[in-house]
């Protein structure tokens, strides 16, 4: 492999590690309840990590000859990078360490997940050879990163406001969100673990062999042989390419998420939401509400420009139609409609505060759905991806 490509890979690892340190330092600073040296170091480490990631991005660009935003690995790492950029800027205005912790955790998970997708530098097929592609993808990612801040603020608001004494629906919803985030982390840990030991399992079907990087619980219905003792044939209606493989991934993520959740609860001895609440307790909730709204107000125009307008200009040139109702496009439209609804619903009496915060959480779920699940579920489980 080329030296540049190896160096750029190391820079990404360096960034990842800096972000991990960033989480530790910001958490520490939050626990000390002061704005001091630790906080400044935390910001500095995160910024250094960001510079490293920028280096990764630029070197990969030089090496591949095109802006590295053209496959899922590249796009997700870029999105993670935008999240950190937005965090670094927002932190200049609103110095809440927990906001930084949220952003770093989500960003790390996204970059970690990205690394599970094929990382080879791929040549661009003709339709992707357009400057509008770069402009579209980078602006869309930036917009989504700004919108994500409303999720961070909203989630903190919810943690702050929810009465943990009463175990009602809301309390369990918080736990579910935490478990979901842990599932992503669990998947990442599993993948790293099995990759370190070089585990692969080859499942033979009637006309193909599928290589699993994780133990194959779920196998295609026409499986002939599998090296793993437990197996479940995937339901008949999922017959898309790699449907079993994807279901296997989803299953193992959720499983590992549950294991992590139980482990953590074993140490905290109470609901994770309840364990986190004291950290959030002193944050000014009006400010959190303001930050949430503000990030939608700033992010919505950027998202519109990047994910819709620039995308349409590109699609018009590349495919002679600016809109084709393909699932990814449609979900960008749904995201947009949702945030438009957020802005209006907030104007109604009684919809600021906790309800807005929940809306912001849903909004981020839609963004994540479009990032991952549309590829994983909608397009993937269908026959013709």
């Amino acid at each position: 492999m080329d030296k540049l490509s190896i160096l750029s890979g190391h820079l990404l690892e360096a960034a990842f590690i800096s972000y991990l340190f960033g989480i530790v330092l910001f958490t520490w600073s939050a626990a000390k309840q002061r704005h001091g040296v630790t906080e400044r170091i935390a910001w500095g480490v995160t910024a250094a990590g960001w510079i490293a990631q920028l280096g990764f991005f630029i070197l990969r660009w030089v090496y591949s000859g095109h802006a590295p935003v053209s496959n899922l690995f590249e796009f997700m790492t870029f999105f993670g990078m935008m999240l950190i950029l937005v965090l670094l800027i927002v932190y200049r205005f609103y110095r809440y360490q927990l906001l930084a912790v949220m952003a770093l955790v989500i960003s790390i998970l996204i970059i970690g997940c990205a690394a599970m997708f094929p990382r080879e530098v791929a040549p661009l097929v003709p339709s992707l050879q357009s400057h509008w592609l770069y402009i579209h993808v980078t602006t869309a990612a930036l917009g989504e990163a700004v919108l994500a801040v409303s999720f961070f603020a909203g989630f903190l608001y919810i943690l702050h406001e929810t009465d943990q004494e009463k175990p009602d629906r809301r309390v369990w919803l918080i736990e579910a969100i935490i478990a979901l985030i842990l599932s992503v982390a669990g998947y990442m840990l599993l993948a790293i673990l099995f990759r370190t030991f070089g585990y692969t399992a080859t499942v033979m079907t009637a006309d193909a062999s599928i290589i699993y990087q994780l133990p194959p619980f779920f196998v295609p219905i026409d499986m002939v042989s599998s090296p793993f003792p437990f197996k479940v044939s995937v339901p008949d209606w999922m017959r898309g390419e790699n449907a079993a493989l994807k279901l296997n991934t989803i299953f193992l993520s959720l499983l590992s998420g549950c294991v992590l959740y139980i482990l953590i609860r074993f140490f905290t001895r109470k609901r994770i939401g309840a364990a986190l609440q004291p950290f959030v307790q002193r944050m000014p909730k009006d400010m959190l509400d303001d930050i949430g709204y503000r990030s939608v107000a700033v992010g919505f125009p950027i998202f519109t420009l990047g994910a819709l307008i620039f995308a349409m200009i590109w699609a018009q040139q590349a495919w002679d139609r600016f809109w084709g109702w393909d699932p990814k496009e449609v979900w960008a439209l749904i995201t947009w409609l949702f945030y438009a609804a957020y802005l209006h619903i907030r104007m109604l009496r009684g919809w600021q505060g906790i309800r807005s915060a929940w809306l912001a959480v849903i909004g981020f779920c839609i963004i994540m759905f479009n990032l991952l699940a549309v590829n994983l579920l909608i397009v993937g489980l269908h026959a013709y991806a």
């Binding site: 303001d290 919505f300 125009p301 495919w319 002679d320 409609l337």
Partner: protein
């Protein structure tokens, strides 16, 4: 008069506490429309009023918006009809791939959701809602903001988000501070009104106009005058007429070419190996566009060269008001097939079939006669039935009746296949040679709605930024009887940063005074 919410005592409008029980009375005013009267709030209730009121409500508008959102999402559960594989019928596809749910999806029309009349109707309702809600608010708001007095009633001021009573010793410095932050100040006697960024209030109305333009453009697309969408397949070296242009526009495909990435390019080796085949680098066609002189039907028209160019993916060309896009191709289509027949004595004779216009009868030198019964340009087996997947000669199959004197034998013949259908095998027929050609697929479009879409998008963006990146802020300074000032502030959003701004203004003034 205002009633205390606890003891029901009637108090003065501008009292801050209840005279009877001491309860704090002040509730913030809803300043969104400055308390202006709106048509939708009037009492008269004709049917028009009711419709108006329905669409003017943001709550109802949001119901419509969320309904659109939900239905749009449902359309992605299964692939839309436009994305099902070529050659499969919708009935068969949805049924066999997704079972009962698939059939239901098809029956309910979700397979063509986004062009269905009811989806369009829903978008129309959304448009109506945007339009009516905006008109309902814009004019009253405009008037209220234009006619703002500097002096305001006390009960108005004390119900703003920011209220302070302050001694102001150095008025000049304060006003300079406020002015320095971009406010414009009006004075009436000893009272002041400082205001900035009023234009931000019009942002929503501007962006809604942009949205309505986009919806209008989508509507205009339904008319062929604004939107014409043609597609031509042209073989290398041939000329084709663009459909629906009154036989006036012709395109010649001089040469179609595909370029692929080098398989041993060290940069891309790994990715290409994973893909398992070469990855295309470019698709392009050298074309000549002709305009036909008006001509008599049936005759070959005289063609005048309009334009000569290369179109490729991402680089469309323009001619005669149309935009020409490279949007499909087919390599190695069969232009002709040469079949060799053998009669009972073993004498052979060849004949060539043109796949575009196959002859009906062929008289052969060995005395045989071949009569074309059926032709499948792109044959496929569907169970035990032969069908054609497309109308392009990608995999031609023929059914011939081969006869000599009074014996006839029916045969199915394709490139690598010859099956007798009558069971007898007196004659043999097989393909011995073929010619191929490449075909380019060009999409020829005239879309006069594009500028409207673009303009709508532009106006939408301007309105968004105008409304969301600036805030309308006002500060009232009202002199009280004792010489101190009642200071009230209003912002249309981001209250906490407004409070920060206000505190900073007074901080700086106070500090200035102490030093």
């Amino acid at each position: 008069m205002q009633k205390c919410s606890i003891c029901k005592h009637e108090n003065n409008l501008d009292s801050e506490r209840c005279h009877n029980c001491g309860n704090v009375l002040i509730e913030k005013l809803d300043m969104r429309y400055e308390g202006a009267d709106r048509r939708s709030q009037q009492r008269t209730q004709t049917i028009i009023d009711k419709i108006w009121r329905f669409f003017a409500s943001v709550r109802n508008g949001m119901y419509i918006l969320l309904l659109v959102l939900l239905i749009t999402a449902i359309g992605t559960i299964l692939p839309q009809r436009a994305y099902i594989p070529i050659g499969r019928t919708p009935q068969e596809f949805y049924e066999s791939e997704y079972g009962v749910f698939g059939s239901l999806y098809l029956d309910l029309g979700f397979d063509q959701l986004y062009s269905s009349w009811w989806y369009m109707t829903l978008l129309g309702l959304l448009g109506a809602s945007i339009l009516i809600a905006s008109i309902d608010r814009f004019f009253p708001l405009y008037r209220a903001l234009k006619l703002q007095p500097v002096k305001r009633k006390k009960h108005f001021l004390i119900r703003q988000v920011y209220v302070r009573y302050k001694e102001i010793s150095n008025q000049e410095r304060l006003l300079k501070q406020i002015r320095g932050r971009g406010y414009r100040i009006r004075q009436n006697g000893e009272d002041y009104l400082a205001e900035k960024n009023r234009f931000a209030r019009w942002g929503p109305y501007v962006n809604h106009i942009g949205l309505l333009l986009v919806l209008l453009a989508a509507f205009l697309r339904l008319f062929p005058y604004f939107y014409q969408d043609e597609f031509v397949w042209i073989r290398d070296g041939e000329t084709a007429v663009v459909p629906d242009t009154d036989q006036s526009l012709f395109i010649k495909n001089e040469q179609f070419s595909v370029d692929t990435y080098e398989n041993d390019d060290p940069k891309f080796e790994a990715a290409i190996e994973q893909e398992g085949r070469s990855i295309p680098k470019s698709f392009s066609t050298d074309i000549i566009v002709y305009k036909a002189e008006d001509h008599i039907a049936g005759e070959t028209p005289d063609l005048d060269v309009l334009n000569q160019m290369t179109v490729s993916v991402n680089h469309p060309g323009k001619a005669a008001g149309f935009t020409i896009y490279q949007s499909g191709y087919q390599l190695n289509e069969f232009s002709s097939l040469t079949l060799r027949t053998e009669n009972e004595e073993g004498v052979t004779a060849d004949f060539k079939i043109d796949t575009e216009n196959p002859q009906a009868d062929y008289e052969l030198d060995n005395g045989l006669q071949a009569k074309l019964v059926d032709y499948y340009p792109d044959y496929q087996l569907d169970g035990d039935k032969i069908i054609t997947a497309t109308k392009f000669p990608r995999n031609p199959g023929f059914v011939f009746d081969i006869s000599e004197d009074n014996h006839t034998e029916r045969l199915f013949i394709a490139i690598d296949e010859a099956v007798s259908k009558t069971g007898t095998n007196n004659y043999s027929v097989r393909a011995v040679d073929y010619d191929t050609h490449n075909v380019t697929g060009l999409s020829v479009k005239r879309d006069l709605t594009l500028p409207v879409f673009l303009l709508g998008g532009l106006i939408f963006m301007i309105g968004l930024i105008q409304g969301l990146y600036w805030q309308h802020r006002r500060i009232w300074l009202q002199r009280q009887a004792d010489g101190s000032y009642l200071i009230a502030g209003h912002t249309n959003k981001h209250t906490s940063s407004f409070e920060r701004e206000m505190d900073r203004i007074f901080d700086i003034c106070d500090k200035g005074e102490s030093s």
